[in-house]
């Protein structure tokens, strides 16, 4: 048992810092710290810098461009990136479908998709949820019928995050309507430029455009773009969702956001003193910070444990539940910290190139919209209630 970092880990941290110092564009870091909107080009520039350093897909097997880091190194990398203001790499390609293609995909799919996915030449989005299939994902209805050398896809997907940045979408589709729900699902990789694909924005209650609906009307997809075997898509989806939940713990991101929040609480004043010294506020902030410490070390403890009773998959559900709750609490306390200046609604202020006069302190402008946006974290990636079902069934055997 030892809390200290090894000299090798300290050296690695220094290496990551030096890289961030040299390669992370200042304008992007500034937008991140100030909660401004990122453009597709911002995402591309950062991802491409990571790609050239060989750090874009650290979790992949080394032969495909992974780094072979230890769990502690991953944690250090994550923390340093967020602290420096690096954006999260859009996860849908690198973290979600990439590992599925590596694990289950044909040589053709690996050859065709992995490189441009890593370099950022091609962005991906996720086509899982449907209007009638949220938590009950396996009830999905989007249908694919094999006709010669291609599938014909019809249906509708929704909550497609950053679909408007994406070039490709990975879809769960029904290929067998007779089989038991989970047994009739396949995974297809679809070019969003295909005829019959239409993407429409969904504006969320923060007033912003993060998610979309995708309509698929007789879309032709080459049969070679099927991942693995037909009707095995549910297995691939489960594999993918475990990776998704791991990412969702967002320890590095939350630690960086907590530091920003503490700085806001040092600047705000109450009763003539910094807000951070106010007993009521400090108690809330401390509870959050302690919960985040618990999450951080639980994450590390689980990642570094050898074997253990429960599978990593089920443990990732614990991390998703608490991680998503804390992401929400951080924004809730930020909104509270700025007092009445949480009330003005000036969404233009979230654009980096807006030249208007901000209402109140600059750090206050996005606080309520981010609180509203964060409502999604306990819903996406399998709602927290679904996570509890998973734990009850697979860890507690209830």
């Amino acid at each position: 048992m030892d809390l200290a970092f090894t000299p090798e880990e300290d050296a690695f941290r220094a290496e990551v810092r030096a890289f961030l110092d040299a390669e992370l564009p200042r304008d992007i870091a500034d937008k991140m710290h100030k909660a401004k909107r990122l453009t597709k080009d911002d995402c591309y520039r950062w991802q491409n810098a990571l790609y050239h350093r060989g750090w874009v897909s650290p979790l992949w097997p080394v032969e495909y461009g992974g780094t072979g880091w230890t769990p502690v190194q991953h944690q250090i990398f994550d923390e340093e990136c967020f602290a420096a203001g690096a954006p999260r790499v859009i996860p849908f390609g690198i973290n979600l479908v990439g590992p599925v293609i590596i694990q289950f995909g044909s040589d053709y799919l690996k050859e065709r998709f992995l490189k441009p996915m890593q370099s950022g030449e091609e962005f991906w989005c996720q086509g899982f949820s449907e209007p009638g299939s949220g938590s009950d994902l396996a009830s999905l209805k989007t249908k694919a019928v094999l006709e010669g050398d291609h599938y014909v896809v019809n249906g509708q997907k929704t909550w497609t995050t950053l679909g408007h940045f994406a070039d490709w979408i990975f879809l769960l589709v029904r290929t067998d309507t007779e089989a038991k729900q989970q047994m009739g699902i396949s995974m297809l990789l679809v070019d969003l430029a295909s005829e019959g694909v239409e993407m429409r924005p969904i504006v969320t209650m923060d007033g912003d455009h993060h998610v979309n609906e995708v309509f698929l009307d007789n879309v032709k997809v080459p049969a070679a773009h099927l991942v693995g075997e037909e009707n095995k898509g549910w297995d691939y989806a489960k594999f993918l969702l475990v990776n998704e939940r791991m990412g969702i713990a967002s320890v590095g991101q939350s630690k960086s956001e907590l530091e920003l929040l503490k700085d806001v609480a040092r600047l705000e004043r109450k009763n003539g003193r910094p807000l951070i010294e106010d007993p009521l506020y400090q108690a809330k902030l401390s509870r959050l910070e302690i919960d985040l410490m618990a999450l951080e070390y639980t994450n590390l403890r689980m990642l570094t444990s050898k074997g253990g009773k429960a599978s990593v998959g089920a443990l990732s559900s614990y991390l998703k539940i608490r991680g998503s709750e804390l992401q929400q609490t951080i924004m809730e306390l930020t909104m509270e910290a700025v007092g009445p200046y949480a009330a003005p609604w000036v969404p233009q202020a979230n654009d980096a190139d807006w030249n208007g006069m901000p209402v109140g302190p600059e750090y206050a402008s996005a606080s309520t919209s981010r609180f509203l946006d964060r409502r999604k974290t306990t819903i996406y990636g399998g709602s927290n209630e679904i996570q509890k079902n998973i734990i009850a069934k697979h860890i507690l055997n209830l």
């Binding site: 048992m1 030892d2 809390l3 200290a4 970092f5 090894t6 880990e9 500034d30 710290h33 100030k34 502690v72 530091e259 920003l260 503490k262 700085d263 806001v264 040092r266 600047l267 910094p274 951070i276 010294e277 007993p279 400090q282 108690a283 902030l285 401390s286 509870r287 910070e289 302690i290 919960d291 410490m293 618990a294 999450l295 070390y297 639980t298 590390l300 403890r301 689980m302 570094t304 444990s305 050898k306 614990y318 539940i321 608490r322 750090y363 209630e385 509890k388 079902n389 734990i391 009850a392 860890i395 507690l396 055997n397 209830l398």
Partner: protein
């Protein structure tokens, strides 16, 4: 960064669990509580033979030179077995004060007996008016002859009912200082009693207790940092006991959910109960991580880093541990409130863990103070 027990720790933990499982059934424990000592002499002797009492002491004093993590490993087993032997009082608290502040002669004269299991120490730091404030000391030590005369009152002294020697905080002209006081000293009134969790404790009244000059432990007036460190070690060990107790609470609750039948099926098949059961285990995992971090930090001389880690764990265990305990009783239904069923004993252990060495609010406030005084970040807002 390594959270795994060492091989040595694992072997030690297994041996201790085996011993306690053999010696600490519910009926054996009840008999121990009813005995004159209020604990099991046989178990106490076996603990000494296993080297438990020597664990945290330096090798020069006849100890094993162990760490707070080693203490944690043992304390988890005390929590699981509901051991009421005065290990925490004698080895961690009294022994800890002597270890950190005492001279080589005091190590020899006081710790040798502790290591053999023959002398029991207790730490008398807090006072009736002080709540959890270790610096609020009204007990005085006035120079008298070659030594001192101690007067004042000490509150809820863990293990005080059976201690041979007390380590007492008192104010001299220089400030807060520590003294060793024999239990039989004239002028010392020891009123022993049991705590909610069955452990022994005492109220002390010192009415001009005469001690010699060499009873002073450590620097005259310089005891507060020592007392704070010792109480961090005790809080860390208490958290480890609590996590052991929570482990058992969760095991019992899960077992009950799987076996108790209502409406023709196990009650664990109901989603309303499943989700609450998940919450118990989620809290356990997160609390355990903080307990590990506290133990790995409790030996540190860096008071802020140590305080931050210990207060995080103590505050978390205090609030979430109690939540787990209450929920477990609710999930059990009627059987959960009966005195005969052992769940209640575990619940009591978790409750007392919050009451001693700073409750959840005390540690939340301390954590907040440390956190707020840390330097501003390098963020855009701080510039």
């Amino acid at each position: 960064m390594d959270f795994a027990l060492t091989e040595e720790q694992q072997l030690f933990s297994d041996a201790l669990r085996k011993m306690l499982e053999a010696e600490y059934s519910q009926s054996q424990r009840a008999a121990a509580l009813d005995s004159d000592n209020g604990y099991s002499d046989a178990v106490w002797q076996q603990m000494a033979e296993m080297g438990l009492m020597a664990l945290p002491f330096p090798e020069a004093a006849g100890g094993l030179g162990g760490t707070a993590s080693d203490t944690m490993v043992a304390a988890i087993e005390f929590g699981r077995s509901l051991s009421v032997e005065p290990f925490l009082a004698s080895v961690v608290l009294g022994g800890g004060a002597v270890r950190l502040a005492g001279s080589a002669e005091q190590h020899e004269s006081l710790l040798t007996g502790v290591i053999a299991g023959e002398r029991k120490l207790a730490a008398a730091f807090l006072e009736p008016q002080a709540r959890h404030d270790l610096g609020d000391v009204e007990t005085t030590a006035e120079a008298a002859g070659d030594g001192y005369s101690l007067s004042g009152r000490k509150a809820v002294v863990l293990g005080g009912d059976c201690a041979d020697t007390f380590i007492v905080s008192a104010k001299t002209g220089e400030g807060i200082s520590l003294f060793s006081v024999d239990a039989g000293a004239p002028g010392l009134d020891v009123r022993g009693y049991k705590l909610v969790d069955g452990r022994g404790a005492a109220e002390l009244e010192l009415g001009g207790v005469a001690v010699s000059a060499d009873a002073l432990i450590g620097k005259d007036g310089g005891a507060l940092p020592v007392i704070e460190h010792v109480c961090d070690l005790a809080a860390s060990a208490l958290c480890a006991e609590a996590i052991g107790a929570i482990e058992m609470i969760n095991e019992m609750t899960l077992e009950y959910l799987k076996t108790r039948q209502q409406f023709g099926r196990p009650i664990g098949s109901f989603q309303a109960l499943q989700h609450r059961a998940v919450d118990l285990f989620l809290e356990y995992e997160h609390a355990k991580s903080l307990v590990f971090v506290a133990a790995m930090s409790a030996d540190s001389a860096d008071a802020a880093a140590r305080g931050r880690a210990v207060s995080a764990a103590k505050s978390y265990i205090g609030t979430r541990g109690r939540e787990v305990a209450k929920e477990a009783v609710q999930l059990h239904g009627g059987i959960g409130v009966t005195g005969e069923y052992q769940l209640g004993d575990y619940v009591k252990r978790v409750l007392v863990a919050d009451m001693l060495f700073g409750d959840a609010d005390h540690h939340l406030e301390r954590f907040g103070r440390i956190s707020a005084s840390s330097p501003a970040g390098a963020s855009v807002w701080a510039q």
